[in-house]
């Protein structure tokens, strides 16, 4: 199944959610625009170059960074290669099955990827060893461990933390074209910090950071990412429809909340 939308007897659930919303609260007690708690494990790690185990409410994700070197793409000889991948682990939900990535995980990967690229979050030119010949490859592998809703935001947040924690081994091109790996490390050049905000529309209510139940019965879903300067850097309308006014309102909310989220992440790095 590509999405979680049909997993719960959804008609009754929707009625219940709407009824509770009339009182101004959500079924888990949150206000419509309240996000769930974000927490990040402070663990040490020896295998990956950077890692973050993050909880958004009860959603759990783990992001790990791997590094490699190789040729740049011919049309961007001055940029490193950046590859994003999402695995919806079958242990994260009874609806996820083992196998090659499907539509849902590909969309998530591309939404996160676009947020970082569009915000120019990483200084790709700093990760060039020899222009046109040898550059770093950054693999951003995103693992969903426990799916309790709003994977897009959880994965974007965890990716940002993992990237900011990454130490890159210094590499030089040797005299015979060989690759020399130094024993020094430098921090991943993260120069902009996009934050992602997902909204759902249920009836006439606009809710931020949907829980699994809310996602399941949502009429419409949209994910926005905003950069350091409060500019919108990526949008993905993921289900249903929005009017232009609804989208402008979502953007406004994202701008209001971004500092709060960003400073929460700075704490844990």
């Amino acid at each position: 199944m590509s999405e979680e939308r049909d997993e719960i007897g959804s008609v009754l659930l929707k009625e219940y959610v709407l009824e509770v919303l009339q009182s101004g609260k959500r079924i888990d007690g949150r206000d419509p625009l309240e996000m769930r708690e974000i927490s990040v494990e402070r663990g040490t790690f020896t295998k990956s170059y950077g890692e973050a185990w993050l909880s958004l409410g009860r959603t759990k994700v783990l992001v790990g960074i791997s590094l490699d070197v190789g040729e740049p793409f011919p049309d961007t000889p001055n940029k490193c290669v950046f590859v994003s991948n999402v695995e919806l682990l079958p242990l994260a939900s009874p609806n996820f099955e083992p196998g090659p990535p499907e539509e849902y995980s590909i969309e998530l990967a591309r939404v996160v990827d676009r947020a970082f690229r569009s915000a120019n979050a990483i200084d790709f030119e700093k990760l060039v060893i020899e222009p046109g010949k040898l550059v770093y490859t950054i693999f951003l592998d995103m693992y969903v461990l426990d799916h309790k809703g709003n994977l897009a935001d959880a994965l974007t947040l965890a990716s940002l933390v993992a990237l900011m924690r990454t130490r890159v081994p210094r590499i030089e091109l040797g005299p015979e074209g060989n690759v020399v790996v130094k024993e020094e490390f430098f921090p991943m050049p993260v120069i902009n910090k996009p934050v992602s905000f997902t909204f759902v529309k249920i009836g006439n209510y606009l809710l931020l950071d949907p829980s699994l139940e809310e996602e399941t019965i949502a009429d419409s879903i949209i994910t926005l990412a905003v950069d350091d300067q409060g500019r919108i850097c990526s949008i993905q309308l993921r289900k249903g429809y929005f009017t232009d006014d609804e989208i402008k309102k979502a953007y406004e909310i994202a701008r209001e909340r971004m500092e709060e989220v960003r400073s929460k992440l700075e704490e844990v790095i």
């Binding site: 539509e103 591309r110 429809y241 009017t243 232009d244 989208i247 402008k248």
Partner: protein
């Protein structure tokens, strides 16, 4: 080893807003639409838009295979976006890549609010969008064509869905970005709108926009989609329609 390497033009947009293909910021590229050109499909449309050539076709409502995908209370709307190997200067390997999987989902999502799927419970409606030549904007050309193919197949719809991109090149907001602008410009923001309701059903963006720029993009995108919608309606009435490059009436 590919023999074609993309190269960035020296000037993407002139100080007076002249674009690499000579258009001004609010000019759309020429668009030609032909409905019902295939025999075997239940509905079809060919859209030529700038250097894009997009063929969409619909089969359905028909039986669902495999059976376990059947939805008892509505139609299963499936959509495949696919690029021909010869649609780009460097040959594209056949078969779905991650981009085409995402675009298939995005285009399907854009069409879904327009289709009365509840009128065809237990059946499949299959939409195929084939990019025969690609020149920036294939997804919005695809939505536009697919929506017409659905209408041509006689599928009950709330309205047509029309698509168009807007973008930012330096400080200019431009409509219907061309290949160079898509490749080297700052932002591409594809949109699709379900008319008459003016509901936005496709919206993506890939670069930084201030609040003011974003609002302007939204406004121009809506106007472009409306122009495309007018062409769609015309195309359903005649064998085919063709328009030369035309300026947006809202600037």
């Amino acid at each position: 080893m590919p023999i074609y390497v993309e190269k960035k033009p020296d000037v993407l947009i002139g100080e007076d807003g002249t674009r690499t293909d000579g258009r001004s910021p609010l000019d759309l590229r020429p668009i030609k639409i032909e409905v019902g050109i295939l025999e075997r499909a239940d509905g079809s449309a060919l859209v030529e838009w700038g250097g894009n050539r997009v063929l969409a076709a619909v089969f359905g409502p028909r039986e669902v295979h495999p059976k376990h995908m059947l939805l008892p209370d509505r139609a299963l709307l499936r959509l495949r976006y696919n690029m021909a190997p010869f649609s780009t200067p460097e040959r594209k390997r056949p078969g779905p890549d991650r981009r085409s999987v995402e675009l298939s989902k995005v285009i399907r999502t854009a069409l879904l609010p327009a289709v009365f799927i509840e009128k065809y419970p237990g059946s499949a409606i299959d939409v195929f969008v084939e990019i025969l030549r690609s020149d920036a904007g294939t997804r919005v050309a695809g939505v536009t064509a697919a929506s017409l193919a659905l209408a041509d197949a006689g599928i009950a719809m709330r309205g047509l869905v029309a698509g168009c991109s807007v973008g930012r090149v330096d400080d200019f907001i431009v409509v219907d970005p061309n290949h160079d602008e898509d490749m080297w410009g700052d932002v591409d923001m594809p949109m699709a709108v379900l008319f008459e309701d003016r509901k936005i059903t496709l919206l993506q963006a890939d670069g930084p926009l201030t609040v003011e720029q974003f609002n302007e993009c939204l406004r121009l995108g809506m106007a472009c989609c409306e122009m495309v919608y007018e062409l769609q309606k015309e195309a359903l009435r005649r064998p085919y329609v063709m328009v030369e490059r035309r300026a947006l009436g809202v600037a």
